[in-house]
């Protein structure tokens, strides 16, 4: 009994702290504006309603932002995982001259935060005429996804035994054939890991989308909500929390589907 208390009481405290904002989205999103302005017990929903969701989807560009975020996240993930896989394969399996230098450079690229890049990158984006073009976010997100995924896949490919490809090589398979037919199927768990992390990181991105997109039709969920649903001092809390709830959902769904990959990937990132 004592042991149980010593585990579950602190665990419950952590639970309350860590779940609080999500609980708050749920508790607010199903209230009417009228109920929210009355200052009633905030821990209870007196008259549950889905009006905030219907208003959000019919009166704002939220659905568009959601579609944009989904498109960008998927496209950036596909591009980055592909590019990272061939890069990691080249570094680990082909060992061309200079592959060590490339590997170190990629690790360094991984720890360059977007916050020191966004200003010069803005001038580059303008020169390339990529400003306010939604698809431009795909290569831009690749700048932080590719280093991350390559690093993760290098760790993964290192552990695949060489015997497999040696056998294929004896049979006359080319390096390119080994890359696709032999290593690729074995690397799938690593690629899934890279893909879900890329999706989460893209879905999460804010600064680049905020600086490089300007018209409403090109905004992502996070940018649209903070720049268009917050007007001056009037906060539409019901609508904001409904939007936050829907916006959190894809990241959370992917996460719950692949929980073990996340845990292994995060733990691996400190252990590799």
């Amino acid at each position: 009994m004592n042991r149980k208390l010593r585990i579950y009481v602190p665990l419950a405290l952590y639970g309350v702290f860590l779940m609080l904002p999500f609980l708050w989205m749920l508790l607010t999103a199903f209230k009417s504006d009228q109920e929210l302005s009355q200052g009633l017990n905030p821990f209870w929903i007196a008259h549950p309603t889905i009006s905030q969701f219907t208003n959000l989807l019919t009166q704002t560009a939220y659905a568009q932002w959601f579609a944009n975020t989904l498109f960008i996240s998927i496209a950036a993930t596909v591009l980055s995982v592909f590019v990272s896989y061939i890069t990691a394969y080249a570094i680990i399996r082909l060992r061309f001259p200079g592959s060590q230098v490339v590997s170190t450079a990629i690790f360094l690229a991984y720890i360059v935060p977007p916050a020191i890049l966004f200003i010069p990158l803005a001038t580059v984006i303008i020169q390339l005429h990529w400003f306010d073009k939604l698809w431009a976010l795909v290569p831009i997100y690749a700048t932080f996804l590719v280093p991350f995924c390559t690093w993760l896949l290098i760790g993964f490919l290192k552990n695949i035994p060489r015997e497999l490809e040696e056998a294929a090589r004896v049979d006359g398979a080319s390096n390119l054939a080994i890359l696709w037919r032999i290593i690729f199927p074995i690397a799938i768990p690593g690629l899934i890991s890279a893909a879900i992390f890329s999706f989460t990181l893209s879905w999460n991105e804010y600064l680049y989308a905020l600086v490089f997109m300007s018209s409403s039709v090109n905004k992502t969920v996070s940018v649209g909500m903070t720049s268009e649903l917050i007007r001056g001092d009037t906060f539409q809390w019901g609508q904001l929390m409904a939007g936050a709830l829907i916006g959190v959902l894809p990241a959370v769904l992917v996460y719950f589907f692949f929980v073990e990959y996340y845990v292994a990937g995060l733990a691996g990132s400190v252990k590799e």
């Binding site: 904002p21 720890i111 010069p120 001038t123 700048t143 969920v221």
Partner: protein, 296 residues
């Protein structure tokens, strides 16, 4: 007819294929990462504004910002924010990992739920925090009022110090799961017989923690803290969503100030100097990351 296989064979040699395969990554990272990084340093030495490339002015932007009390305040709060948040994440993350490391019913569910703050988009959870810290309708104030712990609503974000501390709490909230999962992996790799030997020698729980657990977790601590510090020092989303650097610049950090000066104000050169200035601290941190990753 004979040339194609020869060409194919040459393309397939590790040297040629190796270089070909890294071309896409090289284009992306050289063009959109390395070049902007250098361009940023160059911009910080010019008088560039939006729409005007400006000219080389040496270190004048740096002289201007170092003389600017708002920048000095931002530099100070960036460091303060990072130190407090890292300390909080370390202590609470390690405590949570120690808790989760004891096998119990509901272990997997707890571990899964605990990572949610890290998984959910920061801006969206920051909006929920903003609402939780609302001066008028804060649920935290409401609860404390009902418990008779306070007499009137707390204006969390309206006063410099309460705003600074609130942001640190939210940053801890978001980063704690990363520390917990890292430490959990570290704890699970410590051989059990070390603790058994310590128990035979009569060590109590605290001694075992100080003499075995903590020293063996040291390498992971270095990586977690150095890595997380780089991104906490340059945090933008959380602070921008919750306070925009206010009230009256009290929670301004390098990144929010750089954004205001460069993007909102159009002063690209000055903004670039502000954005570049934490680089010295980051190189020190990066050194620790690279060194501890190498050692493994």
């Amino acid at each position: 007819m004979i040339r194609r296989p020869a060409l194919a064979a040459r393309l397939d040699s590790p040297r040629v294929l190796g270089y070909l395969l890294i071309v896409p990554a090289a284009i992306i990272l050289l063009g959109l990462l390395a070049y902007p990084l250098l361009l940023g340093i160059w911009l910080s030495l010019t008088s560039a504004t939006i729409g005007n490339p400006g000219q080389f002015i040496g270190l004048q932007n740096y002289a201007t910002i170092f003389a600017d009390p708002i920048f000095r305040g931002a530099a100070w709060y960036s460091v303060f924010y990072t130190i407090c948040a890292e300390a909080g994440k370390l202590v609470l993350g390690l405590a949570l990992a120690l808790l989760l490391n004891q096998r119990f019913r509901g272990y997997r569910v707890s571990r899964a739920l605990m990572l949610l703050p890290w998984v959910a988009p920061t801006v969206l959870s920051a909006l929920a925090w903003l609402w939780l810290l609302d001066p008028q309708f804060s649920a935290i104030s409401w609860l404390l009022l009902r418990l008779h712990l306070i007499h009137s609503n707390i204006d969390f974000l309206g006063h410099p110090w309460s705003a600074r501390m609130s942001l640190i709490v939210v940053n801890i909230w978001r980063g704690l799961p990363y520390f917990a999962i890292g430490y959990l992996a570290g704890l699970q790799s410590i051989p059990k017989d070390l603790y058994e030997a310590a128990a035979i020698d009569g060590a109590d729980g605290w001694q075992a923690f100080r003499r075995i657990t903590w020293p063996l977790l040291m390498p992971i601590t270095t990586i977690l803290v150095a890595f997380s510090s780089i991104f906490t020092l340059t945090d933008f989303q959380l602070i921008w969503t919750i306070t925009h650097g206010g009230p009256t610049d009290a929670t301004q950090v390098f990144t929010t100030l750089a954004y205001q000066r460069a993007i909102s104000g159009g002063q690209l050169g000055e903004g670039a100097a502000i954005a570049v200035s934490p680089i010295v601290i980051m190189i020190v941190l990066a050194f620790f990351v690279v060194r501890s990753v190498r050692e493994k």
